[in-house]
Protein backbone atom coordinates (compact mmCIF):
# COMPACT_ATOMS: atom_id res chain seq x y z
CA UNK A 1 0.00 0.00 0.00
CA UNK A 2 1.33 3.40 -0.94
CA UNK A 3 0.30 6.37 1.20
CA UNK A 4 -0.98 9.38 -0.68
CA UNK A 5 1.74 11.73 0.57
CA UNK A 6 4.65 12.05 2.97
CA UNK A 7 4.15 12.90 6.62
CA UNK A 8 5.32 16.16 8.07
CA UNK A 9 6.07 17.01 11.73
CA UNK A 10 3.02 19.27 11.91
CA UNK A 11 0.66 16.43 10.98
CA UNK A 12 -1.59 14.88 13.59
CA UNK A 13 -1.77 11.11 13.24
CA UNK A 14 -4.08 8.51 14.69
CA UNK A 15 -4.35 4.74 14.65
CA UNK A 16 -6.28 3.52 11.63
CA UNK A 17 -9.84 2.45 12.41
CA UNK A 18 -10.11 -1.23 13.38
CA UNK A 19 -6.52 -1.24 14.66
CA UNK A 20 -6.04 -1.95 18.35
CA UNK A 21 -2.88 -1.13 20.24
CA UNK A 22 -2.28 -2.53 23.68
CA UNK A 23 0.05 -4.14 26.18
CA UNK A 24 -0.05 -7.94 26.29
CA UNK A 25 1.19 -9.53 29.48
CA UNK A 26 1.89 -13.06 28.08
CA UNK A 27 4.02 -11.56 25.29
CA UNK A 28 5.48 -8.89 27.56
CA UNK A 29 5.14 -6.46 24.69
CA UNK A 30 2.84 -4.00 23.01
CA UNK A 31 0.94 -5.51 20.12
CA UNK A 32 -1.07 -4.14 17.26
CA UNK A 33 -4.17 -6.14 16.38
CA UNK A 34 -6.10 -5.65 13.16
CA UNK A 35 -8.20 -7.71 10.74
CA UNK A 36 -6.30 -10.95 10.25
CA UNK A 37 -3.10 -9.58 11.66
CA UNK A 38 -0.88 -9.27 14.70
CA UNK A 39 2.29 -7.27 15.04
CA UNK A 40 4.46 -7.44 18.11
CA UNK A 41 6.09 -4.06 18.55
CA UNK A 42 9.56 -3.33 19.84
CA UNK A 43 9.73 -1.02 22.85
CA UNK A 44 10.81 1.92 20.68
CA UNK A 45 8.14 1.32 18.05
CA UNK A 46 5.47 1.13 20.74
CA UNK A 47 6.72 4.33 22.40
CA UNK A 48 6.64 6.24 19.10
CA UNK A 49 3.16 5.03 18.21
CA UNK A 50 1.83 5.81 21.66
CA UNK A 51 3.22 9.33 21.95
CA UNK A 52 2.65 10.41 18.37
CA UNK A 53 -0.96 9.24 18.17
CA UNK A 54 -1.56 10.71 21.63
CA UNK A 55 -0.41 14.23 20.85
CA UNK A 56 -1.84 17.04 18.69
CA UNK A 57 1.12 16.73 16.27
CA UNK A 58 4.02 14.46 15.41
CA UNK A 59 6.36 17.27 16.51
CA UNK A 60 4.78 17.39 19.97
CA UNK A 61 4.93 13.62 20.25
CA UNK A 62 8.59 13.76 19.35
CA UNK A 63 9.22 16.34 22.09
CA UNK A 64 7.57 14.06 24.64
CA UNK A 65 9.75 11.16 23.52
CA UNK A 66 12.91 13.28 23.65
CA UNK A 67 12.05 14.34 27.18
CA UNK A 68 11.40 10.75 28.15
CA UNK A 69 14.71 9.47 26.80
CA UNK A 70 16.79 12.60 27.48
CA UNK A 71 17.65 13.07 23.81
CA UNK A 72 17.34 15.93 21.37
CA UNK A 73 17.91 14.24 18.03
CA UNK A 74 14.99 11.85 17.56
CA UNK A 75 13.01 13.80 14.95
CA UNK A 76 14.34 12.01 11.87
CA UNK A 77 14.04 8.47 13.20
CA UNK A 78 10.56 9.10 14.58
CA UNK A 79 9.42 10.36 11.19
CA UNK A 80 11.08 7.44 9.46
CA UNK A 81 9.24 4.90 11.61
CA UNK A 82 5.92 6.72 11.21
CA UNK A 83 6.35 6.73 7.42
CA UNK A 84 6.70 2.97 7.60
CA UNK A 85 3.65 2.64 9.83
CA UNK A 86 1.73 4.91 7.47
CA UNK A 87 2.79 2.87 4.44
CA UNK A 88 1.58 -0.28 6.18
CA UNK A 89 -1.76 1.36 6.88
CA UNK A 90 -1.41 1.27 10.69
CA UNK A 91 -1.88 5.02 11.11
CA UNK A 92 -3.54 7.79 9.17
CA UNK A 93 -3.37 11.58 9.10
CA UNK A 94 -6.16 13.19 11.10
CA UNK A 95 -8.26 15.49 9.00
Amino acid sequence: MKPERHLSPSDAVELAPSFHFRWEEPQKAHVLLYPEGIVKLSETAAAILETCTGNPSIAQGTCELQDRYGRSDLGASVLEFLELAHAKGWIRVKS
Binding site: E24, G37, I38
Partner: protein, 380 residues
Amino acid sequence: MPKDGSGLSLDGLGMPLWLVVELTYKCPLQCPWCSNPVDFNKYRNELSTEQWKSVLAEGRRLGSLQLGFTGGEPMLRKDLEELVAYADKIGYYTNLITSGVGLTPERLKALKKAGLKQVQLSIQACDSELNEKLVGLDVFDHKIAIARAIKAEGLPMVLNVPVSRYNIDHTAELIDLAADLKVEYVEFANLQYYNWALLNRSELIPTREQLVRSEAAVKAAREKLGNKLTIYFVVPDYFDTRPKACMNGWGSIHLTIAPDGTALPCQEARLIKGIEFPNVKEHSLEWIWKNSPGFNKFRGDGWMKEPCRSCDEREKDFGGCRCQAFLLTGDAANTDPVCSKSPHRHLIDEIVQRASAEDRSCGKPLTMRHHRTAHEPAGE
Protein backbone atom coordinates in the same frame (compact mmCIF):
# COMPACT_ATOMS: atom_id res chain seq x y z
CA MET B 1 -7.41 -17.29 7.72
CA PRO B 2 -4.26 -15.27 8.02
CA LYS B 3 -3.33 -13.58 4.78
CA ASP B 4 0.00 -13.21 3.09
CA GLY B 5 1.83 -10.13 4.26
CA SER B 6 -0.33 -9.83 7.34
CA GLY B 7 2.73 -9.74 9.60
CA LEU B 8 2.47 -13.42 10.17
CA SER B 9 6.07 -14.42 9.68
CA LEU B 10 6.03 -13.66 13.32
CA ASP B 11 7.57 -15.57 16.13
CA GLY B 12 4.78 -16.63 18.43
CA LEU B 13 7.25 -17.28 21.26
CA GLY B 14 5.63 -20.68 21.46
CA MET B 15 2.15 -19.22 21.97
CA PRO B 16 -1.01 -20.11 20.04
CA LEU B 17 -1.54 -16.55 18.79
CA TRP B 18 -4.34 -17.64 16.43
CA LEU B 19 -7.22 -19.54 17.88
CA VAL B 20 -9.85 -20.85 15.49
CA VAL B 21 -13.07 -22.25 16.88
CA GLU B 22 -15.22 -24.32 14.55
CA LEU B 23 -18.51 -23.97 16.38
CA THR B 24 -20.35 -26.53 14.23
CA TYR B 25 -19.85 -28.60 11.09
CA LYS B 26 -23.49 -28.03 10.15
CA CYS B 27 -24.13 -25.81 7.16
CA PRO B 28 -27.11 -25.10 4.92
CA LEU B 29 -24.82 -24.79 1.87
CA GLN B 30 -23.22 -27.62 -0.06
CA CYS B 31 -19.95 -26.31 -1.48
CA PRO B 32 -18.28 -29.20 -3.31
CA TRP B 33 -14.84 -27.97 -2.12
CA CYS B 34 -15.77 -27.65 1.55
CA SER B 35 -12.73 -28.08 3.79
CA ASN B 36 -14.82 -29.79 6.50
CA PRO B 37 -14.31 -33.55 6.90
CA VAL B 38 -16.08 -35.77 4.36
CA ASP B 39 -17.52 -37.68 7.35
CA PHE B 40 -18.64 -34.47 9.14
CA ASN B 41 -21.83 -36.26 10.13
CA LYS B 42 -19.88 -38.29 12.63
CA TYR B 43 -19.16 -35.29 14.86
CA ARG B 44 -22.51 -34.29 16.19
CA ASN B 45 -21.83 -33.65 19.85
CA GLU B 46 -20.83 -30.01 19.74
CA LEU B 47 -19.35 -28.27 22.75
CA SER B 48 -21.80 -26.35 24.91
CA THR B 49 -21.71 -22.60 25.44
CA GLU B 50 -19.94 -23.05 28.78
CA GLN B 51 -17.40 -25.44 27.29
CA TRP B 52 -16.58 -22.96 24.50
CA LYS B 53 -16.18 -20.18 27.06
CA SER B 54 -13.69 -22.16 29.05
CA VAL B 55 -11.73 -22.93 25.86
CA LEU B 56 -11.63 -19.20 25.12
CA ALA B 57 -10.49 -18.32 28.62
CA GLU B 58 -7.75 -20.95 28.55
CA GLY B 59 -6.64 -19.73 25.12
CA ARG B 60 -6.18 -16.20 26.43
CA ARG B 61 -4.07 -17.49 29.31
CA LEU B 62 -1.84 -19.24 26.77
CA GLY B 63 -1.39 -15.96 24.86
CA SER B 64 -3.99 -16.21 22.08
CA LEU B 65 -4.87 -12.85 20.51
CA GLN B 66 -6.74 -13.39 17.26
CA LEU B 67 -9.90 -15.44 17.38
CA GLY B 68 -11.83 -16.80 14.41
CA PHE B 69 -15.38 -18.08 14.75
CA THR B 70 -15.99 -20.48 11.88
CA GLY B 71 -17.53 -23.83 10.98
CA GLY B 72 -19.57 -25.16 9.14
CA GLU B 73 -21.76 -22.15 9.43
CA PRO B 74 -21.17 -20.36 12.75
CA MET B 75 -24.45 -18.42 12.36
CA LEU B 76 -26.29 -21.67 13.10
CA ARG B 77 -25.18 -21.37 16.74
CA LYS B 78 -27.75 -19.38 18.69
CA ASP B 79 -25.11 -18.56 21.31
CA LEU B 80 -22.75 -16.85 18.85
CA GLU B 81 -23.53 -13.36 20.17
CA GLU B 82 -22.90 -14.54 23.72
CA LEU B 83 -19.59 -16.13 22.75
CA VAL B 84 -18.45 -13.03 20.84
CA ALA B 85 -19.31 -10.81 23.80
CA TYR B 86 -17.38 -13.07 26.16
CA ALA B 87 -14.38 -13.26 23.81
CA ASP B 88 -14.32 -9.49 23.42
CA LYS B 89 -14.50 -8.98 27.15
CA ILE B 90 -11.47 -11.15 27.80
CA GLY B 91 -9.43 -9.36 25.14
CA TYR B 92 -9.63 -11.22 21.83
CA TYR B 93 -9.70 -9.55 18.45
CA THR B 94 -12.78 -11.33 17.16
CA ASN B 95 -13.33 -12.36 13.53
CA LEU B 96 -16.45 -13.98 12.10
CA ILE B 97 -16.00 -16.29 9.12
CA THR B 98 -19.35 -16.88 7.47
CA SER B 99 -21.19 -17.64 4.26
CA GLY B 100 -23.71 -15.00 5.34
CA VAL B 101 -26.53 -17.54 5.50
CA GLY B 102 -28.31 -17.05 8.81
CA LEU B 103 -26.80 -13.60 9.23
CA THR B 104 -29.52 -10.94 9.41
CA PRO B 105 -29.24 -7.17 9.96
CA GLU B 106 -30.56 -7.73 13.51
CA ARG B 107 -27.98 -10.36 14.40
CA LEU B 108 -25.30 -8.24 12.79
CA LYS B 109 -26.21 -5.31 15.06
CA ALA B 110 -26.13 -7.61 18.07
CA LEU B 111 -22.73 -8.99 17.04
CA LYS B 112 -21.32 -5.51 16.55
CA LYS B 113 -22.63 -4.56 19.96
CA ALA B 114 -21.04 -7.69 21.40
CA GLY B 115 -17.68 -6.39 20.18
CA LEU B 116 -17.16 -8.19 16.86
CA LYS B 117 -14.20 -6.63 15.04
CA GLN B 118 -14.23 -8.10 11.57
CA VAL B 119 -16.27 -10.22 9.16
CA GLN B 120 -15.02 -12.52 6.44
CA LEU B 121 -17.84 -13.24 4.03
CA SER B 122 -17.49 -15.90 1.35
CA ILE B 123 -18.83 -15.31 -2.13
CA GLN B 124 -18.51 -17.80 -4.94
CA ALA B 125 -19.57 -15.99 -8.08
CA CYS B 126 -20.74 -12.62 -9.31
CA ASP B 127 -24.14 -13.76 -10.49
CA SER B 128 -26.87 -15.68 -8.73
CA GLU B 129 -27.08 -18.50 -11.28
CA LEU B 130 -23.48 -19.65 -10.99
CA ASN B 131 -23.48 -19.01 -7.27
CA GLU B 132 -26.46 -21.31 -6.85
CA LYS B 133 -24.84 -23.98 -9.00
CA LEU B 134 -21.73 -23.86 -6.79
CA VAL B 135 -23.30 -23.80 -3.32
CA GLY B 136 -26.57 -25.63 -3.99
CA LEU B 137 -28.91 -22.86 -2.81
CA ASP B 138 -30.08 -19.55 -4.19
CA VAL B 139 -28.41 -17.23 -1.68
CA PHE B 140 -26.57 -14.72 -3.87
CA ASP B 141 -28.93 -11.78 -3.33
CA HIS B 142 -28.88 -12.39 0.40
CA LYS B 143 -25.07 -12.40 0.41
CA ILE B 144 -24.93 -9.07 -1.41
CA ALA B 145 -27.54 -7.52 0.89
CA ILE B 146 -25.71 -8.73 3.98
CA ALA B 147 -22.37 -7.50 2.60
CA ARG B 148 -23.90 -4.02 2.33
CA ALA B 149 -25.33 -4.32 5.83
CA ILE B 150 -21.88 -5.25 7.19
CA LYS B 151 -20.37 -2.15 5.60
CA ALA B 152 -23.27 -0.04 6.87
CA GLU B 153 -22.37 -1.20 10.40
CA GLY B 154 -18.84 0.08 9.76
CA LEU B 155 -17.20 -3.30 10.24
CA PRO B 156 -14.06 -4.06 8.26
CA MET B 157 -14.67 -6.88 5.85
CA VAL B 158 -12.84 -9.46 3.78
CA LEU B 159 -14.64 -10.88 0.79
CA ASN B 160 -13.41 -14.45 0.42
CA VAL B 161 -13.64 -16.06 -2.99
CA PRO B 162 -12.89 -19.78 -3.08
CA VAL B 163 -11.40 -20.11 -6.56
CA SER B 164 -12.00 -23.03 -8.90
CA ARG B 165 -12.17 -23.49 -12.66
CA TYR B 166 -15.79 -22.37 -12.48
CA ASN B 167 -15.21 -18.82 -11.27
CA ILE B 168 -11.54 -18.09 -12.00
CA ASP B 169 -12.38 -16.48 -15.35
CA HIS B 170 -14.49 -13.90 -13.50
CA THR B 171 -11.60 -12.52 -11.46
CA ALA B 172 -11.96 -8.97 -12.84
CA GLU B 173 -15.74 -8.93 -12.29
CA LEU B 174 -15.33 -10.22 -8.75
CA ILE B 175 -12.85 -7.44 -8.02
CA ASP B 176 -15.33 -4.91 -9.42
CA LEU B 177 -17.99 -6.38 -7.16
CA ALA B 178 -15.69 -6.08 -4.13
CA ALA B 179 -14.89 -2.47 -5.03
CA ASP B 180 -18.58 -1.72 -5.50
CA LEU B 181 -19.34 -3.21 -2.06
CA LYS B 182 -16.55 -1.01 -0.64
CA VAL B 183 -14.92 -3.85 1.26
CA GLU B 184 -11.37 -3.34 2.53
CA TYR B 185 -10.01 -6.68 1.36
CA VAL B 186 -10.80 -9.31 -1.21
CA GLU B 187 -9.11 -12.68 -0.98
CA PHE B 188 -8.84 -15.05 -3.91
CA ALA B 189 -8.40 -18.34 -2.11
CA ASN B 190 -7.41 -20.80 -4.77
CA LEU B 191 -8.79 -24.04 -3.44
CA GLN B 192 -6.72 -26.31 -1.31
CA TYR B 193 -7.40 -29.90 -2.19
CA TYR B 194 -8.36 -31.67 1.01
CA ASN B 195 -11.59 -33.39 2.00
CA TRP B 196 -14.50 -32.41 -0.31
CA ALA B 197 -12.21 -30.48 -2.62
CA LEU B 198 -10.02 -33.54 -3.04
CA LEU B 199 -13.08 -35.61 -3.88
CA ASN B 200 -13.96 -33.14 -6.64
CA ARG B 201 -10.43 -32.17 -7.59
CA SER B 202 -10.50 -33.15 -11.26
CA GLU B 203 -13.62 -31.03 -11.74
CA LEU B 204 -12.46 -28.01 -9.76
CA ILE B 205 -8.81 -27.49 -10.61
CA PRO B 206 -8.23 -24.68 -13.10
CA THR B 207 -5.76 -24.81 -15.96
CA ARG B 208 -2.45 -22.98 -15.89
CA GLU B 209 -3.76 -20.66 -18.62
CA GLN B 210 -6.74 -19.73 -16.47
CA LEU B 211 -4.45 -19.05 -13.55
CA VAL B 212 -2.13 -16.83 -15.59
CA ARG B 213 -5.09 -14.79 -16.84
CA SER B 214 -6.47 -14.46 -13.32
CA GLU B 215 -3.14 -13.24 -11.95
CA ALA B 216 -2.93 -10.69 -14.74
CA ALA B 217 -6.42 -9.43 -13.86
CA VAL B 218 -5.35 -9.04 -10.24
CA LYS B 219 -2.24 -7.13 -11.24
CA ALA B 220 -4.20 -4.77 -13.48
CA ALA B 221 -6.79 -4.16 -10.75
CA ARG B 222 -4.10 -3.45 -8.15
CA GLU B 223 -2.68 -0.78 -10.42
CA LYS B 224 -6.06 0.71 -11.11
CA LEU B 225 -7.46 0.67 -7.56
CA GLY B 226 -4.28 1.37 -5.56
CA ASN B 227 -5.06 1.96 -1.91
CA LYS B 228 -8.80 1.53 -2.16
CA LEU B 229 -8.89 -2.24 -2.08
CA THR B 230 -6.31 -4.74 -0.88
CA ILE B 231 -6.33 -7.87 -3.04
CA TYR B 232 -4.88 -11.05 -1.59
CA PHE B 233 -4.14 -13.76 -4.08
CA VAL B 234 -3.38 -17.14 -2.60
CA VAL B 235 -1.43 -18.96 -5.30
CA PRO B 236 -2.64 -22.52 -5.75
CA ASP B 237 0.28 -24.50 -4.51
CA TYR B 238 0.00 -27.25 -7.15
CA PHE B 239 1.17 -24.67 -9.70
CA ASP B 240 4.12 -23.59 -7.61
CA THR B 241 7.53 -25.18 -7.14
CA ARG B 242 7.73 -24.62 -3.41
CA PRO B 243 5.12 -25.57 -0.84
CA LYS B 244 3.31 -23.06 1.33
CA ALA B 245 4.72 -22.36 4.79
CA CYS B 246 1.74 -24.23 6.11
CA MET B 247 0.38 -22.87 9.41
CA ASN B 248 3.71 -21.12 9.95
CA GLY B 249 4.84 -24.56 11.12
CA TRP B 250 2.95 -27.28 12.96
CA GLY B 251 2.04 -26.31 16.51
CA SER B 252 3.76 -22.95 16.09
CA ILE B 253 1.08 -20.25 16.33
CA HIS B 254 -2.18 -21.93 15.24
CA LEU B 255 -4.67 -23.79 17.35
CA THR B 256 -8.01 -25.02 16.02
CA ILE B 257 -10.80 -26.49 18.11
CA ALA B 258 -13.21 -28.66 16.12
CA PRO B 259 -16.96 -28.73 16.98
CA ASP B 260 -16.59 -31.79 19.19
CA GLY B 261 -13.71 -30.30 21.16
CA THR B 262 -10.87 -32.02 19.31
CA ALA B 263 -7.81 -29.76 19.29
CA LEU B 264 -5.93 -29.59 16.00
CA PRO B 265 -2.77 -27.83 14.76
CA CYS B 266 -4.74 -26.93 11.63
CA GLN B 267 -8.34 -27.30 10.47
CA GLU B 268 -7.55 -30.24 8.18
CA ALA B 269 -5.22 -32.19 10.47
CA ARG B 270 -7.75 -34.78 11.56
CA LEU B 271 -7.55 -36.30 8.06
CA ILE B 272 -4.07 -37.61 8.93
CA LYS B 273 -4.60 -41.16 10.09
CA GLY B 274 -2.62 -42.55 12.98
CA ILE B 275 -2.35 -39.42 15.10
CA GLU B 276 -4.59 -39.19 18.09
CA PHE B 277 -5.59 -35.59 18.64
CA PRO B 278 -6.46 -34.54 22.17
CA ASN B 279 -9.90 -33.26 23.18
CA VAL B 280 -10.58 -30.25 25.41
CA LYS B 281 -13.18 -32.32 27.26
CA GLU B 282 -10.39 -34.53 28.57
CA HIS B 283 -7.30 -32.32 28.81
CA SER B 284 -6.38 -28.77 29.67
CA LEU B 285 -5.58 -26.56 26.70
CA GLU B 286 -2.17 -25.93 28.23
CA TRP B 287 -1.29 -29.64 28.24
CA ILE B 288 -2.72 -30.01 24.74
CA TRP B 289 -0.64 -27.17 23.36
CA LYS B 290 2.59 -27.82 25.20
CA ASN B 291 2.72 -31.53 25.91
CA SER B 292 0.31 -33.57 23.80
CA PRO B 293 1.98 -36.00 21.37
CA GLY B 294 -0.30 -34.77 18.55
CA PHE B 295 0.94 -31.18 18.79
CA ASN B 296 4.57 -32.19 19.22
CA LYS B 297 4.56 -34.66 16.35
CA PHE B 298 5.82 -32.24 13.67
CA ARG B 299 7.12 -29.36 15.77
CA GLY B 300 10.54 -28.01 14.88
CA ASP B 301 12.51 -29.99 12.28
CA GLY B 302 13.59 -33.15 14.10
CA TRP B 303 10.90 -35.20 12.35
CA MET B 304 11.98 -34.25 8.84
CA LYS B 305 13.17 -36.73 6.25
CA GLU B 306 15.27 -36.03 3.19
CA PRO B 307 15.21 -33.84 1.12
CA CYS B 308 13.91 -31.42 3.78
CA ARG B 309 16.27 -32.54 6.54
CA SER B 310 19.34 -31.11 4.83
CA CYS B 311 17.62 -28.36 2.87
CA ASP B 312 18.51 -24.76 3.67
CA GLU B 313 14.94 -23.63 2.96
CA ARG B 314 13.41 -25.63 5.79
CA GLU B 315 13.07 -22.62 8.05
CA LYS B 316 11.17 -20.81 5.34
CA ASP B 317 8.47 -23.38 4.51
CA PHE B 318 8.83 -26.00 7.28
CA GLY B 319 8.69 -28.70 4.60
CA GLY B 320 5.19 -27.63 3.54
CA CYS B 321 1.87 -29.14 4.50
CA ARG B 322 1.66 -32.37 6.54
CA CYS B 323 -1.89 -33.06 5.39
CA GLN B 324 -0.92 -32.79 1.73
CA ALA B 325 2.10 -35.04 2.30
CA PHE B 326 -0.17 -37.61 3.94
CA LEU B 327 -2.93 -37.45 1.34
CA LEU B 328 -0.67 -37.68 -1.69
CA THR B 329 2.26 -39.79 -0.49
CA GLY B 330 0.73 -41.76 2.37
CA ASP B 331 3.23 -40.48 4.95
CA ALA B 332 2.68 -37.15 6.73
CA ALA B 333 6.43 -36.89 7.48
CA ASN B 334 7.36 -36.80 3.80
CA THR B 335 8.27 -33.59 2.00
CA ASP B 336 5.16 -31.87 0.69
CA PRO B 337 4.93 -33.27 -2.88
CA VAL B 338 4.42 -29.73 -4.22
CA CYS B 339 8.14 -29.09 -3.67
CA SER B 340 10.16 -29.61 -6.83
CA LYS B 341 12.78 -31.36 -4.70
CA SER B 342 10.27 -33.96 -3.55
CA PRO B 343 10.61 -37.41 -5.14
CA HIS B 344 6.79 -37.34 -5.40
CA ARG B 345 6.54 -34.13 -7.41
CA HIS B 346 5.49 -36.10 -10.51
CA LEU B 347 2.16 -36.75 -8.76
CA ILE B 348 1.39 -33.04 -8.77
CA ASP B 349 2.63 -32.55 -12.34
CA GLU B 350 0.32 -35.31 -13.53
CA ILE B 351 -2.69 -33.72 -11.82
CA VAL B 352 -1.93 -30.31 -13.33
CA GLN B 353 -1.41 -31.83 -16.79
CA ARG B 354 -4.62 -33.78 -16.61
CA ALA B 355 -6.48 -30.61 -15.67
CA SER B 356 -5.33 -28.98 -18.89
CA ALA B 357 -5.81 -32.00 -21.10
CA GLU B 358 -9.25 -33.08 -20.03
CA ASP B 359 -12.23 -32.31 -22.17
CA ARG B 360 -14.13 -29.90 -19.96
CA SER B 361 -17.49 -30.65 -21.47
CA CYS B 362 -17.66 -34.30 -20.45
CA GLY B 363 -16.50 -34.09 -16.87
CA LYS B 364 -18.25 -35.94 -14.10
CA PRO B 365 -20.78 -34.02 -11.99
CA LEU B 366 -19.66 -32.30 -8.80
CA THR B 367 -20.32 -34.17 -5.57
CA MET B 368 -22.01 -31.56 -3.41
CA ARG B 369 -21.32 -31.48 0.30
CA HIS B 370 -24.40 -33.04 1.86
CA HIS B 371 -25.16 -35.50 4.62
CA ARG B 372 -26.45 -37.88 1.94
CA THR B 373 -23.12 -37.80 0.12
CA ALA B 374 -21.07 -37.77 3.31
CA HIS B 375 -18.88 -40.74 4.07
CA GLU B 376 -20.16 -43.18 6.65
CA PRO B 377 -18.61 -42.82 10.06
CA ALA B 378 -15.79 -45.34 9.96
CA GLY B 379 -15.93 -48.15 12.50
CA GLU B 380 -18.68 -46.77 14.69
